[in-house]
Symmetry: C2
Subunit: 359 residues, 2 copies
């Protein structure tokens, strides 16, 4: 990394600017695929991190079996780009979504998720409108208290509803196990499996999720695939989780020091409208590569406030620095494009194609 | 507010959807103008809250003297819409900005701010390229440790640099006093003023800022104008600051309950990519109008996690609820459009025109 690249980025794009190193992106894609291969599960990367059909296609080319989306809008963008194996990992309900879900399901057979009967009814209607039965996974909660059914008994109620509906195919189970909750997830899964067998059902897909959980992927007997998003770019949270080194972090936010109001203070032109207030449980809001002892301790909307007390030397006004963000997924979501580089060379610009499609 | 409007919003736009009530917006604009009038200072609203030239023009029509922008990109959008009195309240430096600053300064006489000599050099070059001297305010810090010069002595050094540069006009001083720091700001200002007189300079503009500070606007002898942003929409932070009642909050995020995994849990389809992780120092991430005892206690990217322990009755899956966000400025920044309503009627769609222009 040379100062020349910094100057080129600042001249061509200005700061703040989000830059991804494609050599690192490719290495991260390969590493995720290798981890899934080694664990004997299929790889279904979550595209919420990058929202780019181009990067999704690179993941598929590297061996992924399909992709995961978190919103209907993301799935629409990916389908429009020609991707055909799409899991939407959430309840897709609401008036504005039902017609679009039907249109997409008519175009290609989707996989959707549900943790309640209202969603199942919505899927049945959409499938009927699309004239194609839809594959449904039941989302299960085994401790994180995110979405998902809390008990095997309720899973089986939903499975029975799916079985009795000609427009719904029972496709399997969706898990997001707590990092230390894989044994409990196994117990939950085994109970569900027994009940499913009694219903004459068998899960084709048993999906687990999360980049930090990639160390556990071989821990659930019966799992068929894994959904990980962040590992394509990595960030400070993944470093804290032991899932990435600094050199695995593919996205840097280039930002300029625009003020040095006091000796121990500095201000970046990247604030909460760029780096976001999602600290991810870490101290400070990002790591400055050039000044690792500087601390982004507070934000204004367009300013990041630096505490330079422990920093020697200290950056000057006008200096460009690179920040590894705490949580890269929400940071990418703030911009309409990323700049792609390889080493010191600017390669191209990558649209964050599925950004801003709230619904 | 009827359930009919909720259904119409959900059908036409889907959730999450950001909706502004124009009756409230107009009342908020009028109230801000009246407060400035009563304090005897001009009103220079900060458009970072709405990023819309249409709303900016409404503020000007109501009596504002000009507008405040926080980024060059915002100023460009406002200028393109025909707004001519623009203050950019930050250091505008960096390679990509200098050419654009010159182009804009050629088009109309800007007011820019500086707290360091590097910015002054950049402004001088841009003004020279534009063939029009540029008005410069010196940003002063009187306790908040945001941007700004910390001592009157340094203000005077910068003022002298401005005086000696034919391309720079000394236009005045920019303050953002702490809510309880107006007496200290007066002391700072008086010292600076004395030194300025010795330099033969006089500030034309003495600008103060912040919606909560509107209670203090008459407290700085010599102040000429005030910059407030949030008061056009208001939010939970402004309610906590005593600056707004619930009925003054003009923006609601319409969101659907998409999961009820447990008896005391619920999930909204508005997460950190919609409501943002900026809690603004408050408990929870927003107020549910229909269920004020529900607490948004955590986010996934597309999900808001509800603690319904204190909530009776509790919302059902599929129900649409309205959230008053904690910090409306960062929430508006997440979307490309707002839906405008008057009472129960959808009026139009308002582009967040200056969103996403990072530089």
């Amino acid at each position: 990394m040379s100062d020349t690249l910094k100057s080129q980025i600042a001249e061509q794009f200005g700061t703040p600017c989000m830059v991804i190193d494609m050599d690192r992106v490719e290495a991260n894609i390969a590493r995720a695929q290798a981890l899934c291969d080694a664990a004997g599960v299929a790889n279904r990367p979550h595209i919420k991190t990058h929202k780019s059909p181009i990067l999704a296609q690179m993941q598929l080319d590297a061996g992924a079996t399909g992709i995961t989306c978190q919103k209907l809008g993301e799935a629409e963008v990916m389908a429009a780009a020609g991707i055909t194996d799409i899991l939407i990992a959430t309840n897709v309900i609401g008036a504005a979504r039902s017609g679009r879900l039907a249109a997409l399901q008519r175009q290609l057979p989707l996989k959707v998720c549900a943790d309640n009967p209202v969603s199942l009814d919505a899927y049945s209607s959409a499938a009927q409108a699309a004239e194609r039965p839809i594959d449904v996974l039941i989302e299960c909660d085994t401790g994180l208290e995110r979405a998902g059914v809390e008990t095997p008994a309720v899973v089986l109620q939903l499975a029975a509803q799916i079985k009795n509906d000609p427009w719904l195919n029972f496709a399997g189970l969706l898990f997001y196990p707590p990092i230390d909750g894989w044994p409990a997830t196994q117990v939950f899964f085994n109970r569900v499996n027994q009940g499913l067998a009694e219903l004459g059902l068998q899960p084709t897909i048993v999906s687990t999720g999360g980049t930090p959980n990639m160390v556990n992927m071989d821990q659930l007997v019966g799992a068929t695939e894994h959904r990980a998003g962040t590992c394509i770019f990595n960030d400070r949270m993944m470093m804290a989780a032991g899932m990435a080194s600094l050199n695995d972090c593919a996205l840097h936010v280039y930002t300029t020091v625009v003020s040095r109001g006091g000796a121990a203070r500095g201000i970046l032109d990247a604030g909460s409208k760029t780096l976001t207030s999602d600290a991810g449980g870490l101290d400070g809001y990002g790591l400055l590569l050039e000044y690792p002892n500087a601390r982004i301790h507070k934000f204004a909307e367009e300013h990041g406030f630096l505490d330079l007390s422990d920093c020697d030397p200290r950056p000057a006004v006008g200096e460009i620095v690179r920040v590894v963000p705490n949580h890269v997924c929400v940071v990418v979501n703030m911009v309409d494009q990323l700049v792609m580089v390889r080493g010191d060379t600017i390669v191209d610009v990558l649209p964050v194609a599925a950004r801003g499609l709230l619904v």
